[in-house]
């Protein structure tokens, strides 16, 4: 039985040693080179002695970053990718929560990392391979050993580190690659940042299937001609992108002057796909397979999928679909009971795909990863997504928004109160309230107080990643209130 994702790498390196596995705009790496590089990094880390603590990675968007992840896996640690372009206060928060063994960087970081050793990639990448030590580490690992920690937005400004084991990752990747019918001839194009959950497809599908991933630079997604030109040059056949990436390209008029000629398989996830956007893609690529996916980071990227089997209408809502192989998806009522057929309830997930919880955060882990309240007879861990949904008669899950104030924006789950916390940190802000306009995909912020608008925006930039900073900010004399004293968010949504 396969129990470690490195078995996929070793098998692929044996079968396709000289085939390119990852490529960026500057260089490429073959399966064999990747294997050797990962073993060298793993050996360099292993000689430092093991603790249970993870190793953080702060590197750019390139092929060696993935080699670094896999090297850390060889050393028996979980890797924790951190976007080094986000504000330093947020990086510091994450590092404090993580308390890493070491931080692996491609250049010396400007932030302080208390108690962790800074390791420069170039200085350890040539390390001698210690085969016996790597074997010993592998022998001690199980399929529930942690693989990675990926950070998502958390309420009250505390990011959550979702920690996931080998078996959950392998479970999802197998299901995804099978459903998308990916084989060794496919060429994938990665849109997701490497520190974000969606990148696990681009990283691990090639190891399982022997295919290749091209890492597209982020700025190409603002330049449709450049993006499609690259996709045609690289003969990209398969993508798994955020819904908003597809929607941005459609809004930029990308198909007016070209299209990705070789693209045959398109999967999208992260937010609800508007019918008119999907229709435009379907018309541009009439032969391609289109698949909608649904699920949070906590169930390893996705738990349901829907293979679209017809040309959709502009106003059609696209269902979340049916559970992936080896996922159990069901609904719970507000009081934790069963939901009648057709009724709406909280979407809950069980099975091998569940994460191990939130790293170093017992309180939030216990609130979301719980015993199935319908099962009184044995331990059955479920994840409560906080998403609301219902099942159609044909078994398709439909998504109906959130129980709380979390939103999905540009493919990321964002807690609106994390944004409010960041705004409140600006001097002279008395109150702040964030609302989301899903039609225009815009986060809006209203505040009261003495602060001038620019200072509020600059302050938010200091602690939030760019996509979370509201693009519409308005100062009010005071925020509207409900009778119970809470901010009237519905009224704010109606303000222009």
């Amino acid at each position: 039985m396969e129990k470690n994702v490195l078995e996929w790498l070793e098998r692929a390196a044996d079968k396709y040693p000289d085939r390119v596995v990852y490529e960026d705009t500057e260089e490429s790496i073959t399966f064999r080179e990747l294997l050797l590089e990962a073993e060298r990094i793993g050996s360099a880390l292993a000689v430092r002695g093991l603790s249970e603590r993870p190793v953080a990675v702060m590197m750019g968007r390139g092929v060696h970053t993935i080699a670094a992840y896999l090297g850390i896996v060889y050393s028996g640690h979980a890797y924790a990718p951190i976007d080094r372009t986000q504000p330093s206060t947020r990086i510091e928060k994450i590092l404090k929560l993580l308390n890493p063994e070491a931080v692996l960087c491609d250049e010396a970081p400007e932030i302080s990392v208390d108690g962790a050793e800074i390791l420069l990639y170039d200085e350890i990448k040539e390390h001698e391979i210690l085969q016996e030590e790597l074997e010993r580490i592998r022998h001690e690992a199980t399929d529930i050993s942690p693989l990675y920690i990926i950070f998502t937005s958390g309420s009250s400004g505390r990011p959550k580190g979702v920690i996931t084991a080998h078996h959950a990752l392998m479970n999802y990747i197998r299901a995804y690659a099978g459903m998308m019918e990916i084989d060794s001839s496919d060429i994938l194009c990665s849109q997701s940042p490497l520190d974000y959950i969606a990148a696990i497809r681009d990283i691990y599908v090639p190891l399982l299937k022997g295919c290749r991933t091209f890492l597209s630079p982020k700025e190409y997604f603002m330049q449709p001609g450049v993006l499609f030109g690259m996709m045609n040059e690289k003969r990209i056949t398969c993508i798994g992108w955020s819904t908003s990436a597809l929607s941005v390209l459609s809004r930029l008029g990308a198909f007016r002057e070209g299209k990705p000629e070789y693209l045959k398989k398109v999967c999208f996830s992260g937010s609800v796909m508007p019918g008119r956007v999907l229709r435009e893609w379907q018309e541009a690529l009439p032969e391609a397979l289109f698949v909608n996916q649904y699920g949070p980071t906590e169930v390893t990227a996705s738990c349901t999928y829907y293979r679209i089997d017809h040309r959709v209408e502009d106003t059609e809502s696209i269902p979340a679909g049916v559970p992936y192989d080896n996922y159990k998806v069901f609904l719970l009522s507000d009081d934790g009971g069963r939901v009648s057929p057709g009724d709406t309830g909280e979407i809950c997930v069980a099975g091998s795909g569940l994460a191990l919880g939130y790293y170093n955060d017992e309180e939030r882990t216990k609130a979301a990863f719980v015993q199935n309240p319908l099962n009184k007879v044995y331990n059955e861990m479920i994840y409560r997504t906080g998403d609301m949904g219902s099942f159609r008669q044909d078994g398709m899950l439909e998504f109906h928004g959130r129980r709380d104030r979390q939103i999905k924006h540009m493919g990321h789950r964002v807690e609106l109160d994390e944004i409010e916390c960041a705004a409140m940190a600006a001097e002279g802000v008395a109150e702040a309230a964030a609302v989301y306009d899903p039609v225009n995909e815009t986060i809006r912020l209203f505040y009261s107080g003495e602060a001038v608008l620019k200072d509020v925006v600059v302050e938010m930039r200091r602690s939030l990643p760019g996509f979370m900073v509201p693009r519409k900010v308005k100062k009010l004399d005071m925020l509207p209130r409900l009778a119970n004293g809470k901010t009237d968010l519905e009224k704010l949504k109606g303000l222009t």
Binding site: Q223, V248, L252, M410, V457, V458, V473
Partner: protein, 79 residues
């Protein structure tokens, strides 16, 4: 014209120093949804239509480049 472009840019992203920034797209200073909003405002303000082939780093990396693009498109509209 440059003044109006600057006004739109500053309103869109009050935190960016558009007078000195020279890699708005190349360095990902602007996000893709900033570009969508920017194009829609430029199209409306100057009564032009920025086509997808104009969406390149060269045309959008600085306030001067954006002004240059707008001037060219306005001139083409008038022809």
């Amino acid at each position: 014209m440059r003044e109006k472009v600057m006004e739109i840019l500053t309103d869109l992203r009050p935190d960016v120093e558009f007078e000195t920034e020279k890699a708005l797209v190349s360095d990902n200073v602007l996000e893709s949804f900033d570009i969508i909003e920017l194009i829609s405002r430029l199209n409306n303000e100057f009564d032009i239509e920025i086509s997808p082939k104009e969406l390149t780093a060269v045309n959008f990396d600085s306030a001067d480049a954006i002004t240059g693009l707008v001037e060219r498109l306005v001139a083409e509209e008038e022809e």
